[in-house]
Amino acid sequence: MPPIALLAPIALPVAAAAVAAATSRLGERVARLVAAAGAWAALVALAVLWLTVRSTQELSLGPLGFGAGLDLRLDGIGVVFGIIALVPAALLLTLQQRGWQECTVASLAIAAVVLAIESGNMVLTAIGGCTAATLAVVQFDIEDVRAVRPSWASVMIPWIALAWAGVTLQVEAGTAAYAAVPVSALTTQIFALIAIAALLGAGIVPWRGWAVRIWMRPSLRAASVTAATLLPLGLYLLVRAYELGNGRYPQLWLNLALAAWGVLVALGAAVRAQAASTRSEYVAETVPGLAGFALMSIAIGTAVGLFAGLVLLASAALLTSALPLLPDRRSPAALFVVAAAAGVPPGLAFGGRVLGLADAFETGNAFGVVAIAGAATWLVAAAAAARSVGLPAGRRRQATDALALVAAVLGVMVLAAGPAVAALASITSDAIAGVMTLPAAGLAPDPLSIITVSTRLPAVALFGPLLILGAAAVALSRPGPATTAAQSKAPLFDVPGAAAAMSLRDRVSSWTVPEQYRSLFDPVALERVAAGGRPALWLASLIALAIAVSR
């Protein structure tokens, strides 16, 4: 496979965008099909590129002019994240009704995300990420300019931070190429910039950030594609940071801080979810909650933790494509998807969470406390999920039965994929070995079980029979009454001090400059003075400049 083929996963969505725009007169259906075909083609190209060689492939097309070259590099971890980002994106482009403009912009955003993932250096990743974030904002505004969307600044900050980290590496180490940066160059300051980029780029924050608010829009077309592409891209940076640091972060406390942040994010999502007044409010918290657990697992700094994070990201990817397809009414589809997101055994999300928590316990020190908090958070999320079943829909989106069926199938896939977790581990262990050293016994010596430090997870032997027994038993069981208890509408608990914090926030936001001082801060008057072309001001400025340089 010639190295130039590395351009294919980027070029195909771009070409699809161009064709979608060119065929706009033929109707939206054509544009939708073209865009979906482009995303699927990119996915196939990525898979073919990897499967034909099964080792890292590189392509260098020379310097671009700003200190970074057009260096593409496809390694195992790139393929894993590419698949995690492309599968839901392709599904959504296939299943959701979109106008040609949305199809075009979404395809370009997908190409930008693949560029960021395939990029061989950090600066190019920043360009790809910034492009994807900008196009996400454009998608939101095309879809509904009045609906809530992430502020442009909030999606730009992370990529400017990453660009700064990249150029700092260039200045201090002479290169920002992932494969060439010396281990000593990854200082705490540079890692902090990468972490800021990762957390804000994916919207992984404990408060109700943009990653939550986008799910509350009237339409979920742009939200779902954005969540499907930007969430993995953010966490991808933290995984690449392991490669830069030869399998570890500059300081152990950084791992601990990130893991704690991940639990805080999941806890924030769970606390908000248990107080949600509608099912759509609950749904908005599911993907960020999973992202918090994924962050916690990835931050532990072991191969098992990283694998657990990947499993949770894969679950989040499938659920991201299922959530916007759910109907408003209470249905088995909603039940399956909610159960899968909550981590009901023996689902994929269950396996990922168990592995992540187990790994945190086995890492020891304060990670154990983080793991206890994580486990408690998991139960809060489970309680919120249980409560959500009885909540009113809370939105006016109607999904067809066919889409509901697809959502149900995706939910069942996540629930039924638990036994396959060991097989996934043996498939991805080579990719994980590319960024950190595997344990001596390996991650998954066979596709049946996963070895952690103190235990072994017999995925197939335990989850397999449980799945079969469970499916048979549930099929034979008698559903309970579909009643909604009044209590299920009330929050399970109130966060202490939340009301006080809200009132303080309202008070602070209501502060204004006293009337008698307003003239001092009148921007219009200041502008009039500055732009009035007054010689007196010019002379005063000249004197000020003279004083400034003479000191």
Partner: protein, 269 residues
Amino acid sequence: MTQLLSSAAGDTLSLLVYPGLLTIAVFGLAIEVAWSAVARQAIGRPNLRWRRPPTVQVIVALLAMLAVTQFAAPFNAVPTADRNLVIAAIAIGFTAWAELALDPELVARPGLLLIIQSCWLLSVLGPAIEPESLRPQVLGNALVPALLPVKVASGFLYLLCLPALMRLWPMSPPAERRARPRFNATRTMLWFPYCGLFTTLFFPPSADDLAGAVRFFGISIIAALLCVLAGTLLARRGAERARGLYTRAVAPYSLLVLALIVVTLTLTR
């Protein structure tokens, strides 16, 4: 392939028979009958006609089966290396929420239940921090003097939480219209998971022989009876006192246990 089939057969046996479904049912039935007698509940005439079981009971049973396979019970066919405390704790924790999801009318005060469940989770997982192991038998075996205070404090917290988690407190769910609650089939399936986990975590594992089995189930039954006793006392004190106990005593005590865990962690480093 042979290895897969043999281990799958062993795990299936554990799920369905011992220490799985059959054991859960027998143990639970015995303790539930005892509780009904103590609480003067009507057991009701056994209905021998086959009826499809409610989904909520099926789900709770499946979760309980998964949990008990992780116990350090004698003759457990699941290899010791394959047992994981997190799986047991989360599977048991999920049972309450399966009820809330599938039959919300059965769950009283879910908010308070969540707080108590968090305290219980601390008592289950707290002792696992310092040993850095999730093998239940390893935690049961941990008798290092430095770790004993955490273990004892966690065990006591576990017992304090048990009556509420088993719904032996005097708080009737919304659907309950009767003065005297009836035999609770869902709870029947939770007696062994909760009590067996207590035995697994806080007592050295029993040998794989008859004496060991007697010891294991004996301790579990004592734990269950202690729970029944506490439930009776709570029932006498009334709902408000019970809620007061859990919000004003158990929750702060769990924070104390957490502090103890952190102090132990710091001192042993």
